[in-house]
Every structure is written in structure tokens, then in C-alpha cells.
Amino acid sequence: MKTDHKRNFSIIAHVDHGKTTLSDRLLEHTATVTQRVLTEQHLDSMDLERERGITIKSHPVTMHYKAKNGELYQLNLMDTPGHVDFSYEVSRSLAACEGALLLIDAAQGVEAQTVANANLAVDQDLVIIPVINKIDLPSANLDLCLKQLEDLLAIPAEEAILASAKNGIGIEEILEAIALRIAPPRWTDCGETRVGVFDSVYDAYRGAIVYIRAFSGKIKRGDQIVMMSDNTRAEVKEVGVFTPSMQKSETLTAGDVGYLVCNIKNVAEIKIGDTITHYHNQAKEMLPGYQEVRPLVFSGIYPVETSDFEKLKAGMGKLQLNDAAFSFQAESSMALGFGFRCGFLGLLHMEIIQERIRREYDVDIISTYPSVIYKVEKVIGEVIEVDNPINLPDPSAIERILEPTIKATIHVPNDSIGDILNLVMDKRGVCDHTETLDETRLMLVCNLPLNEILVDFNDRLKSITRGYGSMDYELDEYRESKLVKMDIMVNGEPVDAFSSIVHQDKARVKGKVLCEKLADIIPMHLFKIAVQAAVGGNIIARANVRAMRKDVTAKCYGGDISRKRKLLDKQKEGKRKMKNIGNVSIPPDAFIKVLKNDRD
């Protein structure tokens, strides 16, 4: 295939706007996959992705399309993750493209994530092909969508293709547009070979499988290569393309998307966004846009059964093989014993990892209150990074604390603007400016502390806007803030796993909510249990778990003793599954449940 007949593109869309369905239609239409083997949502391979209906891992595929002009084109589709936690991955997938389909739900219109991703695509100089999807829905509002395209994204309305991926409307037109509108591969004229890395997965037999886009030169089996970010040298064992299953090929040349296997085992050594070049003829410059992926959210993960520690460690190791963005290291907690401090890209990433540990490695786990990375300037001048409240130095040793903030783009219906502004204020945010999207919706750009949006911001946004609101964010600067460590005590025993760093002015309210929630989650015991929140030794909030009143079997004679013992044993087993702190049994899910918002 000639380089100028290759087209590399992504589909960018808000969650649920039909990206996966459109991908499936394209595969079908180009006969890349026959309808029979096309299970619903072909490109999302993990069960968890399917359940949550979101794509976590991007998975490319190569198609061939004969356009109306008689020419055969090679179309490489990069399926991108659909969640803000994974925006760097999205940007790397986009960087491997020359064009993008911008998918807009005809009934929903432009959402925050659509704007954010469209901007990412524009930043990468991609050709954008707007596609209005689900036009056959009764609630479709084409005029509005087209107007939004022009107003918000500055894309001429006449460029839009009207489609229904579900019912196969407009698919041919989309393929034509990909072939004719999207530019041929760029950066082909560099003298040396440059290959971009946009993802990697772990294979038990072959080690790391690196997803690549060749920009210039070529790459084949036996090549000596260098990873330019850290000068790691390796030898190529195999290259190939996705059809969508992996298929070995001779060489990959400029404009191709495919995979590469080399003698690197661990995906943690493969940096997304890296540039691969030939060892003997090295490129002078990396492809633009590389960043080190750094976790934003930290949380402790502990086994409920202390004997599961090794099993948990092994499970995490295996997960990390396939997820370079997930980090962990051993730590210990007074309350929970030995476990791991884990770093995640965001809260969704955290939940996914936790769920996978439970399901795939069968370990019951407890996770602690999530934290961001604080920069703490000590009186002695030293600056330390703190990602775990228990590591926060004594207040007397602290000069000031800086916390990470984000710039959030929030789309909301007009009628919920008041509640949303209250929410933003409640979360210590500042609204920088607002913009009208259409007659019914507004866009807010806000600065918020990252730690405030971790737990329930998105849930509350959705709840206030009855599901119509959406948000996207990018990291902003670190800012000084009056932060304190809040401890939680259960029957007088501090439970370090519940400690959190909170803003001084919000400690009382947060403490109260946390205590009340915990009191609700902890089952009734024989005795009354006090749940208290404290800052610097002062109790600031308290809630009680009512004592159990009745738990008694009426009949208990000779014949019942074995049965009765079994019953008591079961009760005890139930308690064993809980975390015992002092004489209080706390259900393992308490540690995650306290995070969930249920005030609405």
C-alpha cells in the first residue's frame, strides 16, 4: 500500500454517543469482520469495559476500503478511551492520527467531553469530520447540533455527516470522507525511522506488545531499536497489524498502524507517547507530545485476610504488567496491617483496578480514602510530596501546604446553574467564566481543587442535572490552601485508613458526614459504638451506632446444639470477613462506601 493511500483516524465522542457501535459498522462495511463474528462492541475486549459500557484500553484495527474513485485505501482506526481519567492515552492515540470522526449524539448535542476531545484533536492538527449520530431518534435535534458545531467548535455545519450507526445510515459517506478528507500520513520525510508508541498490552508468552504508528522509515523483525525517552535498546521479534486480531507481517512502513514485539517483558518499561527509532541510525528528535504518565490519585489497598497479602501482591503485579499507569508499593497501616499504596490516573481507574483485583485474583480488599499529591513546605525549608494523610508532618513543622487544582469544563442545563454554582462553591471552586451553548445549556470553566472532585463531584453533577450535565478537566497549577488532617476514631481507636486531608473550614461538615455514614455502615454490635472525627486531637463530629437489641434463638435443645453451633459459626465467619478494629467489626466495603455520595 502506498503511503499516501493510508488514512489514520480516531473516533472522539462523549460516553454513550455511539462510538463503539460506529466502529462496529465500519468494520462490517469494509468486510473486516463479518457480521456473524461481530459480537456487540467488538473492540472493547475486557468484560469490565463491556459491563460499564466504556472503553478503557484502546485497540486499533486496520481496514481496507475501495472508495468511489476506484482507489483502495488502508484505513487505520484507533479506538480511544472514553473517560477523562485516560485523557493522556486519548491524546497519544490522537497523535497517531491525521484525522478524527467527531461523533455527536443528535439528541444530546455537544457535551463537555466532546469539546475537550475536539480541542485535543485540533491541537494535534487533525482533520475533523463531524458526524451527527442517532439522527433517527425521535428526540434528535439536528439544527441545534449543527449550530453548536459552528458556535462551540467553529466547524462549518455543511461538513457534518448525518448518520445512525445503529441502523447503518451514513456509513458509506463516513468512509468516503475518511478516504478523501483526511490527510495522508504526515512527518514521513524525516530521514530516520520514527515510530510512535500509543499503547501496550501484556501477553504472558510474548511479553509486552507495543501498539505503534510508523511515521517515517520502516521497522521489521530483527531490527535493533531504541526507545528514545530513556534510550532503552531492544531487538524486534515480530511486527504485525490488527485485522482486528493480530496478524504478523513483514514490515511496517510510514503511515502504518500495528504492533511490535521485542525483548521487553514488562509493559511498565514501555512509555506511552515514546518514539522508537533504529539503534544504528537514530532519529535526532522524538515525535512531539511525550509526557511521563504520573498517577494523580493515591489510595491504600489492603487484603481483608492478612494471609492474602502475597496473593494481592501477585495480582497487582500482573495487573501492572498490562497497565503502566497503575503503580503500587508496600505500606502498612495501624488499622489494616500490611498492604500497598497505589497510584491511579483517576477515580474510575482506581475503581476498575479494585474491581479487577476482586474478580480476577479473588482477593477481598479494603481501600482507603483516596488522596492527591500535596506539596508540603516545611518550616526548615524542605518541600515534600505527600500522597498519604498519615505522612503529613506535624502542623508545627509545616510552613504551608499546596494542593493540585484542575481546570474543569462543565456543561449544564440553564435551570441547574444555581445548584451547580453552589456545588462548585461547596467544593472550594471558582468559576472563571460562563458561556452560552444554546438556549438550554451553559458552559462553565472553573478552577477546583483536585481532591474535591475525587469522590463525588461527578455523581452530584449528574444528580443535580438529572444526567444532562457533563464535565471534563485538565490539571492546573498547585495552590496554597489551609489544609488539615482529619482523623476518624471508632470507639476511641483511631482508624488511620479513614484519615483524610481536608480544608480547615470544611473539616466539621465533612467530619459529620463521614461519621454519620460510617455509623450507618457499621453493623449493630452488642454495644453502642461511637464514631468520631478529630482534627489535631479535638473532636469535631460524632455519630453513634445503636447497640443491637435482640439476637436470640428461642429453641435450643440437645438436637439443636450442632445446628446452633453452625449458626453461631456462620455469624462468627461473617465477622471474620470484616476488619476488626478494637472490638468493632467494620465491613470491608465500608472503606469505599463512605466515599459514595448518597445525600440525594
Binding site: 452488642l526 437489641r549 435482640k550 439476637d551 436470640v552 435450643c556 450442632s562 453461631l568 462468627k572
Partner: protein, 399 residues
């Protein structure tokens, strides 16, 4: 008896005769005979029961004869006996006589208490006469309620009128002791209706009363109603009804000696007290449980399979476990605390030759400081609040 079987028994006698007799066994031995037959199954009952026909009852009686002979090999002395069910009273007078004779012929010892359970509808003069002649001292009658509407809810097996008549017959026959069973927390029953049941029961003047909170056991008609949402559990009401029983019966001169058992002074059911103290007992008949010579086990809850095992002198046991001092200490503590008298910790530790674990001692202290338990002398007793939580207390005391 077959020669082979006799030989086996002889060998067993030798094995068992002089073997260990740990000091933790008390001197009493109880015998429980499960009579599995019922006319119909009650909506609340999960005990093993079958509908008896002539052949089945005859086979059962023969089986008991053989099982008794096998069980009595060690020449142990019985002190108490209890016929439970099922509905022992459903047996004809003649069959009751056979069953009583079987016990007397196979076991030594003089029974100080011999209880037979009877449903009001099964109480007949000829049966009572046989039981009295055979030496039965105590009749336990499953009254459940005096309120015909509530009896209906339980799947009516008898009426208030039948209860009163049956009680008179029992009294006329001159049994030393009579117990009446009541059930409370029947759907529709409030405190006032329970008080009325208790008043009527006490008015008859039995020396013993048992009151059981209705439980929804799996495989019962009531459980089905519960799962279908036709009846609902009300834990708060149940709690109040427990307390109503305790307070009312105390007021009427019945001393509570266990969660569900009340008696005039000196009229406690010795057979049951011995099981709660973790003494030994032997159970005969399908589903009957035994705790004997270092083992705890139950007969299979199936008439045919039980018979098979008995005939082959190879009992079909389920839930077998070996006992040891630690386990018995724990059980004597857990089940002992269900009794109002509680347990004497020194006596307990002395008897089983070991100390309470640290966590047990800590639990006891915590319960005491929380008002769920009281210590006096060497004894510990649950308070009323503690007794309402005896399952939770029990599971906390388990090692």
C-alpha cells in the same frame, strides 16, 4: 438377636467398658427418643416428621428396639428420658407401651424424670393410662395458643376447647408434672393477645411453661409465606413480646430458668438442663442427636435410612464431631449462659481442666461493663438485655 451381632456387641462392650471416663462428664445420662410421626405438618415446624402408617410405625418400633440394644451396651444408667417428635402422642396406646417397655428393658437406672410430648388432639385416656403405668412423670403439651384465630394462623391442629379437655384428662391421670408450650409473635399477635394467652395458660396451673418466639424455618409453610411477603418480621415487636413473656410469667410465679423456659420452684426440666450443662445424652430414632463418650452426632433424618443403619448395626450418622475439653468448655459457657443461673466459671474451668481464653475473658468483661452480664461470686449471668442477645454473645464467645 443374631449371633454375629451379639459378638459385635461383646467386642464393643470390651472396648468401651473400661475406657476413658473423663471427669468432665457429669453423672447423669439422658435418653431422647424421637418419634417422627405427625398427622399433618405444622406450618411452623421444621423438625423431622413423616406421616405414619401401620407398617412404618411397626418398623420404627422394631428399629428403636434394636438401636436401644446397641446403644445400651455400656450398661449406663439413665436418669432422665424424653420422648419428643414429631408427635409421640400420635402413637396408639399399645405402641406407646411397646416404646416405654423398650426403654425400660434396655437401660438401667431409675428415671427421675420421664417426659412425653403430646399434641392436644392426641391426648386420650387410654394413652395416658399406659404412660402413667410405665412410669412417665411428665407430659409436655404443645398448646401454642389459646386463641383460635392465632391457632388458625399456625395451620390449625387443634382448638382451645381441645386444649382444655386434654389438660383436664392429663391432670385426672395424676401426672407429677405438666408443661405447656406456647408460641408467640404469631402474625397478628400483639402484647395484649400474648398476655391473654399467658394468663389462660397460667390459670390452668401447669408447673412448667415454655414460650417460643415463632421462627421462620426454611422448608416450612410459614417460611414460604414470609418469602412471598404475606407475613412480615417485626424484630421490635418480637423483642417486646420476649420481655412480655418474661415479665408476665415472673409476675405469675413462674421462674424463668432459660430463655424460653419457666417453672415453679424445683420443677425445671432436668433432661434439658443436663444438655445445656453439656452432660451426656443418647438419642434414638431418626434425626435424634447424641452426645456420648467423646462424640457428638445425629442420626440421619430419614426413617428408611435410619432403619437400614440400625439393622446393619452400622448407624447412619451425620454431623459427627469429636469432642474435646476446649469445645465442651465453650459450649457449656455459651449454652449455660442461656440459663438464668448462668455458669460458675470456676466450676467450669475445673471440670474441663482448662482456662477461658483471653478473648473469652475480655468479652465477658466487656459484656459486664456494658450491662449485658453480671458477675456474682464465681458465677456469671446474662441480664435481660444480655439474654435478648444470647446468639450474638455466643458467637462472640466462640474461639
Amino acid at each position: 438377636m443374631q449371633a454375629g451381632l451379639k459378638a459385635t456387641i461383646e467386642t464393643k462392650k470390651n472396648e468401651l467398658g473400661s475406657e476413658f471416663q473423663p471427669k468432665w462428664w457429669g453423672k447423669t445420662l439422658g435418653l431422647y427418643v424421637h418419634v417422627p410421626f405427625c398427622a399433618t405438618s405444622c406450618d411452623f415446624c421444621a423438625f423431622y416428621q413423616v406421616q405414619g402408617d401401620r407398617a412404618g410405625i411397626r418398623a420404627y418400633l422394631e428399629g428403636i428396639e434394636e438401636e436401644a440394644a446397641q446403644a445400651a451396651v455400656a450398661g449406663q444408667e439413665l436418669r432422665t428420658c424424653f420422648f419428643g417428635g414429631g408427635t409421640p402422642g400420635l402413637l396408639k396406646a399399645k405402641d406407646l407401651q411397646i416404646l416405654c417397655e423398650t426403654v425400660r428393658r434396655n437401660f438401667r437406672g431409675s428415671l427421675v424424670e420421664w417426659t412425653v410430648e403430646m399434641a392436644p388432639s392426641t391426648v386420650k385416656i387410654d394413652k395416658l393410662k399406659v404412660l402413667k403405668e410405665q412410669g412417665v412423670t411428665r407430659i409436655s403439651m404443645g398448646v401454642q395458643s389459646f386463641d383460635d384465630a392465632l391457632l388458625d394462623k399456625l395451620g390449625r391442629q387443634h382448638s382451645r376447647k381441645q386444649i382444655l379437655k386434654a389438660y383436664d384428662l392429663i391432670r385426672e391421670e395424676g401426672f407429677e408434672s405438666v408443661n405447656l408450650d406456647l408460641i408467640f409473635a404469631i402474625p397478628g399477635q400483639n402484647e395484649a393477645r400474648l398476655k391473654e394467652d399467658i394468663r389462660q395458660a397460667a390459670q390452668l396451673g401447669p408447673d412448667h411453661l415454655s414460650t417460643y418466639c415463632l421462627t421462620f424455618e426454611e422448608d416450612t409453610a410459614l417460611f414460604v409465606q414470609l418469602s412471598e411477603g404475606k407475613v412480615a418480621l417485626d424484630v421490635d415487636l418480637e423483642t417486646r413480646l420476649y420481655l412480655t413473656c418474661w415479665e408476665e410469667l415472673e409476675r405469675l410465679g413462674y421462674e424463668q430458668y432459660e430463655i424460653s423456659n419457666f417453672a415453679r420452684r424445683g420443677k425445671q426440666c432436668l433432661h434439658n438442663v443436663n444438655t445445656w450443662k453439656m452432660d451426656q445424652w443418647i438419642g434414638l430414632g431418626p434425626s435424634a442427636a447424641s452426645q456420648f463418650r467423646g462424640r457428638r452426632y445425629s442420626n440421619v433424618p430419614d426413617l428408611d435410612r435410619w432403619l437400614e443403619g440400625v439393622k446393619a448395626n452400622h448407624p447412619n450418622w451425620i454431623d459427627q464431631s469429636d469432642l474435646n475439653e476446649a469445645l465442651l468448655l465453650e459450649d457449656a459457657l455459651i449454652f449455660g449462659l442461656r440459663m438464668s443461673d448462668g455458669v460458675d466459671l470456676n466450676e467450669l474451668q475445673e471440670r474441663f481442666g482448662r482456662k477461658l481464653t483471653r478473648s473469652q475473658s475480655k468479652t465477658i468483661e466487656a459484656l459486664e461493663s456494658d450491662g449485658k452480664l453480671r458477675k456474682s461470686g464465681g458465677r456469671i449471668r446474662l441480664t435481660k438485655a444480655g439474654r435478648l442477645l444470647s446468639d450474638a454473645v455466643g458467637s462472640t464467645l466462640m474461639v
